[in-house]
Amino acid sequence: MRAAFRMPAGGRIARGETLSFRFDGRIYTGHPGDTLASALLAHGVHLLGRSFKYHRPRGVLAAGSEEPNALVEIDRGGGRRTPNLRATEVALYDGLVARSQNRAPALSFDLGRINDFFAPLLSAGFYYKTFMWPRRAWRMLYEPLIRRAAGLGRAPEAPDPDRYANRFGHCDVLIVGGGPAGLMAALAASAGEARVVLVDEQAACGGSLLDETTATIAGQPAPVWLAETLATLNARATVRLLRCATAFGYYAENFIAIAERVTEHLADPDPGLPRERLWQMRAREVVLATGATERPLVFPGNDRPGVMLAGAARTYLNRYAVRPGRRAVIVTACDSAYQAASDLAAAGVEVALIADLRDTLPAVASDLAARGIRVAAGMTVLGTQGGLRVRSVAVAPARGGASVRLACDLVLMSGGWTPAIHLFSQSRGQVRFAADLGAFIPDRSVQRERSAGACRGLLDLAETLADGARAGAAAARAAGFPVPDLPRPAVAGAITPAGFHLGLCPRAAATRAFVDFQNDVTAKDIARAAQEGFHAIEHVKRYTTTGMATDQGKTSNLNALALVAAATGRAIPEVGLTSFRPPYTPVTFGTLAGLSRGALFDPVRTTPIHPWAEARGAVFEDVGAWRRARYFPRSDEDMHAAIARECRATREALGLLDASTLGKIEVVGPDAAEFLERFYVNALRKLGIGRCRYGLALGENGFVRDDGVIGRLAPDRFHVTTTTGGATATLDRMEDYLQTEWPDLHVWLTSTTEHWAVLAVQGPQARAALAPLITDIDLAPAAFPPMSVRVGHILGVATRLFRVSFTGELGFEINVPADYAGAVWEAVAARVAACGGAVYGTEAMHVLRAEKGYAIIGQETDGTVTPGDLGLDWTIGKGKTDFIGKRALALPDLRRPGRKQLVGLLTTDPALVLEEGAQIIAGPNPSPGSTALGHVTSAYPSATLGRSIALGLVAAGRQRLGARLYAQTPGGVAEVDLVSPVFFDPAGRRIDG
């Protein structure tokens, strides 16, 4: 298909190469350098989308990231489908597939259009006043209908195969925006040694200069000056140019978030490349040169395809060599539209009229008049006509008089320019309203930042260039790099965009006069919101949804403000400004997630024994960040059979557990004993060398936080273990107290969690199994009693051998350096097998300890449990005047009778295993809303006892021992008898082995 509207020459497109692409199934052609929008316009295609609510036909309004209308879906195949992309930003590549959105069955014939005729119904805030009856209808009927109507594009259905990257960056001067101001700032800032980064959201740097054909800078045509400037910057090693990169967030301490699109513009990208990369950039100094956005005029039918911003038309003409129409009518309140008119006329587009809303014409008007172009002052625009494309426009004298309809296929408008202060506002800078611009501009910077050029209201090209140079030099100097001032470049042949109009055009009706195009918010909606008492701009925004579309109101915010001001009789500054939030333009979730996916989402921590367990087909479970072997099923076993076997083997002969994940802390120093005495509830000061003690640590609120075993290796050296989950928190709490509460204590802490792997050897055969492997430690009961620690060697490897038991059996915990653990484990496992034992996992470990009534922190405790609740009062050192949590234990509620206490629970049906979390109740038929006596904390089938067992926390449980209560089951309740939590070997003889 021929691109009828493409100029024979000119533009920044590579005509040598032709690209073909599809839009709604139809094949078109374009060239490298085109955007999807410019390529479609070259074919005379203006209808690109449908509006959010009324499904009105919409075309291309703008040429950049401010575009509210031309949203499309791009499908690269294989799950690579992206909704809501702006055709004005989509770089064209060969084979691109684009679809229009929010229409059915077709873009040119959309049944949703009916909404437009019911506009009165769907006006702002309507939802809040109806759809309430009957009561269930909202959920059943209205909401589904509204939801189906809402939304623009379709979310992808397949997982995204693309990769995303992250990069932390640092620089001395970050410049946002590669237009005239930004380029000059970069030139000036990089004259010294400063590391300069220039970020631009477009594929090519240059900003407004990319559209410039008439102006000259420093005696050269603008395009030449631009090329030379970019060459200079590229040649400087200290400068990095980031193109296709949007600085979307400005955070504390000059931390700027930048989304770099790496492959989006490529037809066939290298699969190894990230699709996008997130730059988290910390800059010493920042220069914001973010430019300005042209504002639409507000009049009925200002949204028809073919109605366009004047500056955008100029961009399509000069940058893409595309005529946006054949016959144009221009309505403007700003001089810049005359430049567009001039360029269009020169390109052979008939300019039927320039209707200026202002009473006095600018000087430039006479030049155009001289070229035979009709120019009229004091005009207004009353509306447009047409279906899928504007057919005519009605203009009239602003102060009354007959209107005339002018046939045209293009209406260009300019209401003036809005400085892009989004990032400045995000940096928490203070803005002020500039009456001469009809816009807000930066006033006071809060961070080490300076704005330059159009984004601070300097719309004159010469001013902008000079301002950029000033800002760049100032930034480099502030960062500590002396640089010279650049000479102010002379500029000729550019029109300064003076003049503006805000709000509704004179005499124009408010109905279907669009302010926020994408969300279909009209001047009437805003007036109505004000009438209904919504005077705060944030209220208007939320009530009408103006400014809340995917363009973040870049083209609509000021007109909305002006309309609210007019409706409430206030000045714009009194109405205020809605706060700008990140991101400046929408940012891909994947980009923000970066590398963090799958295995890199969160580290999976494994022990040195892990490869062995994996090879033996262990079933694993996640415990915090650790992956631990839960059980070791044999080929014919299910989970319960495996666990039963592992438990039986341990009780009858021997079991081997990988306990390496236990936290370990080496506590060293002359005051180590004193410190532990204060940190744990136990009496530890007098703990003998070579002895161990169970340690219980509380929070200052009196509730159990962690437990472990404390072994004394020397007068000033302790080996302390913590729970797997509590390792980091306990070490951090210890450091906290040492550094901030008790700095007088001479104690130093070192985490040895990962240095020592731990092999727990438990069961009657433990001593026999280990004896051959350990030569220099006397394992005899008398020489090595329970709760003691010895240092020696196992298989020649240095070990710290603990005689401790978490099973109630004769037990040892072998600590060996991690890199040797695999080899030691192999040898011990062989011995265990030889002794008729088995390797067991965390599930059997849970069962074995439950049979003994040992509590597990985080299972029997939940942050609301005291030592007394667990029946562990005995661990509290007698006569200790203080320890962490002691004072809180004296609080009324922690001494209250009737607190929940740890008990054993036996179901009358021995086969029934309760569910953990089941509530304990007094009667079989609880009335709804009745409160529980407690809950089941642990429940297992016990092979040893040949029945199920459970532990629970029950109000005044120890007084109720022997009582019969009820526990919930999935289907109802079950009878349970309260018993001692020690189900097995209550006398504790087996530990003595």
């Binding site: 301490e253 450091e735 609080l891």
Partner: protein, 93 residues
């Protein structure tokens, strides 16, 4: 991400630090001497000011040291850092 001036390592990114809450809440020398109200207030009552806040930070993934800082809770800007145990510096808002 804040940039936090560690008194030992210099300015470092926030994710290297852990927050320690309000500073200058010394644990009573003799907790037993506190009545329930005093103990409850020590544990839980916080100034939580909108303005300059004296707070504790620890360079957990750096030098490991706790230190105190004055930070403005509206601008989030750090005004000064100082040693644990040192008195709160006088500084104008």
């Amino acid at each position: 991400m804040l940039l936090i001036p560690c008194p030992y390592c210099g300015p470092r990114p926030e994710i290297e630090f852990s927050y320690g809450g309000e500073a200058h809440l010394a644990r009573p020398r003799d907790p037993a001497a506190c009545d329930d109200a005093a103990w409850g207030d020590f544990l839980y009552a916080r100034t939580n000011p909108k303005g300059i806040h004296a707070e504790r930070w620890r360079h957990a993934h750096g030098c490991g040291r706790f230190f105190n800082a004055l930070r403005h809770t509206v601008s989030d800007q750090f005004l000064i850092t100082y040693r644990i145990g040192a008195p709160r510096p006088e500084i104008a808002a």
